[in-house]
Amino acid sequence: MAQPKLRVLIAKPGLDGHDRGAKVIARALRDAGMEVIYTGLRQTPEMIAEAALQEDVHIVGLSILSGAHLTLVPRIMELLKQQGQERVRVMLGGIIPDEDRPKLESLGVAGVFGPGTSTGAIVEAFSRAVEPQELRAAEG
């Protein structure tokens, strides 16, 4: 039996065209041994939920710089739930005002990372989000 890998989807929902941050994170997660599916710019919530399902990821990392997080994130969470993907953790990075954090957390977002967060801290949060036994239990 092969060593299971943490599978992560990194996606940029919405219309802002700045993906440098998302790429830096994808690279750091790869260097930490994770398999990172990178979907590119301008993804709709539907595209993200569908990709998460087909790729059977443990974590979806969203990068949002446009300020539309309070519209996009609830829609993505709702779609994941509809498809039976409740176990998928959602992490959010980008420009997120502090006052929006409680709202996002109450929606079930597992982590919010603002500008200046070190890649090390993000890698650690992603690694810790999934218990080793869940990884080994092969999602049966």
């Binding site: 039996m1 092969a2 060593q3 299971p4 890998k5 599978r7 994808a26 690279r27 997660l29 790869r30 260097d31 930490a32 041994g33 994770m34 398999e35 990172v36 599916i37 990178y38 979907t39 590119g40 993804q43 709709t44 539907e46 595209m47 569908e50 990709a51 399902l53 087909q54 790729e55 059977d56 498809q83 039976g84 993907q85 092969a138 999602e139 049966g140």
Partner: protein, 321 residues
């Protein structure tokens, strides 16, 4: 809990989870695959290979759109393989970036795979994932390899139809003469026809092919001559022709009996590989601790060659009964 009934019923979440289990080679996953195996054998396995940057993913995006727009289109799955980092074991799987137009089509399923260190252009478990997609009812399964050069020809054993991509500016005519990737082609495509130099690349490939059919086809006395096609994933030029040529190749395989020849070759490779792996695994399990490490030490110390050490291992085990 068995994933077999939901997978057969078309549950995409169950299918995705089975694919993960197969990638991780879990006992449950392999058991489910055994149960599903009787449902395989319907899908047309189409390999897409070529050097990095020849436009494999973008072409698959266009090609699958074209096939899905036809009234007789089956459901289509794509297994896209990208390389794992040899250092961290992680990977960035980016093939979906170029396949965004396929999103939202419930008749399409895309799965990205890291090759997890395998060298032949696919992952060790790619073939099992393809089998599961076959059983789940996908009538065509595209297998997109890691960007390949000359020797990554595993796809020839995994697919019924191999499409080899080239693009302008990828190398001179001697590259095209070398052994390997062109020999496994059933269809040869010069992609990026909108770029300057495409016609030159096409002419160079044509001149190479006129030197004679590839060795593999000669051995089989195949009547199939790989056609040369010019496509552009950007403008869409040549895509309908490519889609039709893939269908034509399938019909050729079926009518000529080569379909079964290829199935047998594929199964031969797969069963042979599994047998070697399992035998080695079981053999080593029966030997005392340190037995294998001692053999490695001898080779590192140049006391014996790898070939000699393997003979010694087997001889001493046989002698010990």
């Amino acid at each position: 809990m068995s994933l077999v009934p939901p997978v057969l019923a078309g549950d995409r979440l169950a299918l995705a989870r089975l694919l993960t289990q197969l990638e991780n080679e879990t006992p449950e996953g392999l058991e489910d695959l055994s149960a599903l195996y009787g449902h395989t054998g319907q899908a047309h396995r189409v390999g897409i290979t070529g050097a990095p940057g020849t436009g494999k993913s973008a072409l698959v995006n266009r090609l699958v759109q074209e096939l899905r727009s036809r009234s007789d289109s089956p459901q289509i799955a794509i297994v896209a393989v990208d390389p794992s980092s040899p250092f961290s074991g992680g990977a960035i799987l980016g093939d979906r970036i170029r396949m965004r137009d396929l999103s939202g089509d419930p008749g399409v399923f895309i799965r990205s795979m890291a090759n997890r260190g395998a060298l032949g252009g696919l992952a060790r478990t790619s073939s099992n994932l393809v089998a599961a997609l076959d059983a789940a009812g996908f009538g065509i399964v595209f297998i997109e390899t890691v960007g390949s050069g000359q020797a990554e020809v595993d796809i020839a054993g995994a697919a019924h139809t191999v499409v080899v991509l080239d693009a302008p500016g990828m190398g001179d005519t001697i590259q095209a003469l070398k052994a390997g990737i062109l020999e496994i082609a059933d269809l040869i495509v010069v992609n990026k026809s909108d770029l300057p130099g495409a016609k030159t690349t096409l002419a160079a490939l044509r001149a190479t092919l006129e030197l004679g059919p590839a060795a593999r086809n000669k051995n089989r006395e195949s009547k199939w001559t790989p056609p040369l096609l010019l496509t552009s994933a950007t403008t869409g030029e040549g895509i309908p022709e490519l889609a039709s040529a893939i269908g034509e190749h399938r019909r050729f395989l079926e009518h000529s009996g080569e379909w079964l020849v290829r199935e047998r070759e594929r199964v031969d490779q797969e069963v042979g590989r599994l047998l070697r792996e399992r035998l080695a695994e079981r053999f080593l399990k029966t030997q005392p601790d340190g037995f294998y490490e001692e053999a490695l030490r001898k080779v590192v110390a140049r006391e014996a060659s790898p070939g000699a050490v393997v003979e010694q291992l087997i001889e001493s085990a046989v002698a010990a009964g």
